[in-house]
Amino acid sequence: MSAYDWLSEFAAMLSDDDPVLNPEHFTPLGPGRLYSIAVHDWDTCIRHAAFAGLRWAGLWADPVAAGVQCTTCFARGGDYLFLRTQIDSPSLGISSHAPYYPAADRMERHMHDLLGIVFLNHTNARRWTRHQAWPDDCFPLQPAFPAAGNAPGVTPPDSDYPFVLVQGAGVAEIPVGPVHAGIIEPGHFRFQAVGEEILAMEERLGYVHKGIEKIAAGRDAQGLVRLAGRVSGDTAVAHAWAACMAMEQAASVAVPPRANTLRAVLLERERVANHLGDIGAICNDVAFTFAYFQFSRLREQWLREQQQVFGHRLLMDRLIPGGVTADVDEAGVAALREGIRALRRELPGILPILDDHPSLEDRLIGTGVLSRDAAVRLGALGYVGRASGIDLDVRRDTPHAPYDGLELKVPVMQSGDVAARMKIRIEEIHASLVVMEQCLASLPSGDILAPWPAPAAGEGLGVVEGWRGETLAYVRFGSDGRVARYFPRDPSWFSWPALEHLIQGNIVPEFPVCNKSINGSYSGHDL
């Protein structure tokens, strides 16, 4: 099936006589196609997209002079379809995705809390990103709202959030967080349990909302990448690359081949670093500390190599618009190769122990199962999706340089349990090492940075396969050449609802390991 040949069928589905969208009349956006549609066709499009089995991948709104522009993103295989419409005022409302795409529930509530957009037929009107830092009739992303806010003083706790209760004999409610017991990010989990069995768990996030979308506005391109690298500190490279890609598209800048290849090395290193840490942490959550110490040792070695070769342990600020900040010399390439070899030497000594350690199997196999159906319905991405049979990887399906010239193995499993999510990550480490070797073997010579012009007004969109999965960034430059709108869509928007779903029927003590096997980002989601 060639790219976008499903689109004419989809367009035909939308209408019999009056065309909703003409497949030939599009504007390129990122790797996909952008179509403008009438606001009264919005609901039809969403409904038919769901019916046609398109994946929903994100939604953002942009306050413009004449109202609010809403853009939604669908995908099929490696094809991206963006639909855009405009409403004169946020309060006029627009149809919700949530009846068809349950994972849209929170992103729409986020848009309501920040922009005031009313989502018609949305069945869940509770606040989400807003706690008590601003009143419910003020909307921070509206241009008139000052970035500094207008409610100085102490912010009260958000203590009366209406959680969904389960009632019945013997049902206990267990509140957890926002300050958690470990060294992790804050968020609140509300369990409804009978004895140890979890009937339902509801997440309450938004605690680390830092106003990223608001404070992005007015920045120059370099300032935006610095911020993008801190959307989620464990995903510095993926978010920075997505933002760079979006801005480079908007400014029509071609990145030198050497810079692109180095970016891929950085992205794969970030993937390996996080997987090493998480595999150890998953084992630690079921008290198999041997693996925890082995993997945290490997991760530390890996981070030190990053410090030595790239100058930063977590690879922050290595990407800038137009290229990368630091070149890698021959000694650096040799060090990276040796790092890959060293990891390859180490893993065969540890992985077989994980494979047939009975007490580990006992805790991981069959725990926290996310069925393929649920994963599709919730739009699960990255290793969460791939462990549940969703064969999706931006690097292979929508390849950008340098992945268009690389061999990549994408592991997929079907069982959808914690064991599968751990196994997928192990396989992804192996695959990343192969990708890095190819990058280093064919590292192009030349510049690492293209000149960065003052961009004209325009927009762009970046898509990369970060370690958690498909990572999007939308950027629009205003006429002053500064950022007017930035929306980073972390894969965690999709993994948090998946966690709520897969935890049902498990026991409370299994929650930490289930949570770790998903490892959603709080910061990347709360923005």
């Binding site: 830092a133 500094a148 912010t155 706790p157 608001k214 404070i215 911020l227 500190g233 040792r297 000594g349």
Partner: protein
């Protein structure tokens, strides 16, 4: 089991005499940490880490203190699950307005001497996120701070040095 034992034997002790760049200086830091903790905290310093709005970068590096290479427990430092068990709060920022109340409550729940260290550039002054409708800025905007460890994020060695300086300064 034999394979586990064999692996343990082969890897041996990887815990470092202390960080790689300047072993002598940092070996000394470790010894000094142990000494200070010995005299000031009867050999055991309990830390409660609080993420008050961080991007998670600082958490990753604080986590690394527990890996076998730094193994901070050997100096008597351990991370605890409740502020009620803590001598010290290690707070990363910026403090989001939505975490403001939780941070104040955590501080109130901590018994004396409740030392507070603001970690990272964001914990120091709001860093990349500054002050906004959603961010209070640095930790000191919300609770009293005894010491600051800068960096984005501060690597494990700098964290250890910062903790040492904070407890030494207290004397």
């Amino acid at each position: 089991m034999l394979r586990i034992l064999n692996k343990l034997r082969k890897i041996g002790v990887v815990t470092e005499p202390l960080p790689h760049q300047a072993p002598t200086v940092l070996e000394e830091i470790g010894a000094q940490l142990r000494g200070e903790i010995g005299t000031q905290f009867s050999g055991s310093l309990a830390i409660r880490q609080v993420d008050a709005g961080s991007c998670n970068g600082c958490e990753l590096e604080i986590h690394a203190l527990n890996n076998p290479i730094y193994d901070i427990e050997r100096f008597g430092i351990h991370f605890v699950a409740s502020p009620r068990h803590a001598d010290m709060l290690l707070v990363t920022g910026p403090v989001s307005r939505h975490m403001e109340a939780a941070l104040r409550r955590t501080y109130e729940a901590t018994p004396a001497p409740k030392l507070v260290i603001a970690v990272g550039d964001c914990g120091a002054d709001g860093g990349e996120f500054g002050c906004s409708y959603a961010s209070c800025g640095g930790v000191a905007e919300v609770i009293p701070v005894d010491a600051v460890i800068r960096g984005c994020p501060p690597p494990p060695e700098r964290l250890m040095l910062g903790i040492l300086e904070a407890i030494r300064h207290r004397r």
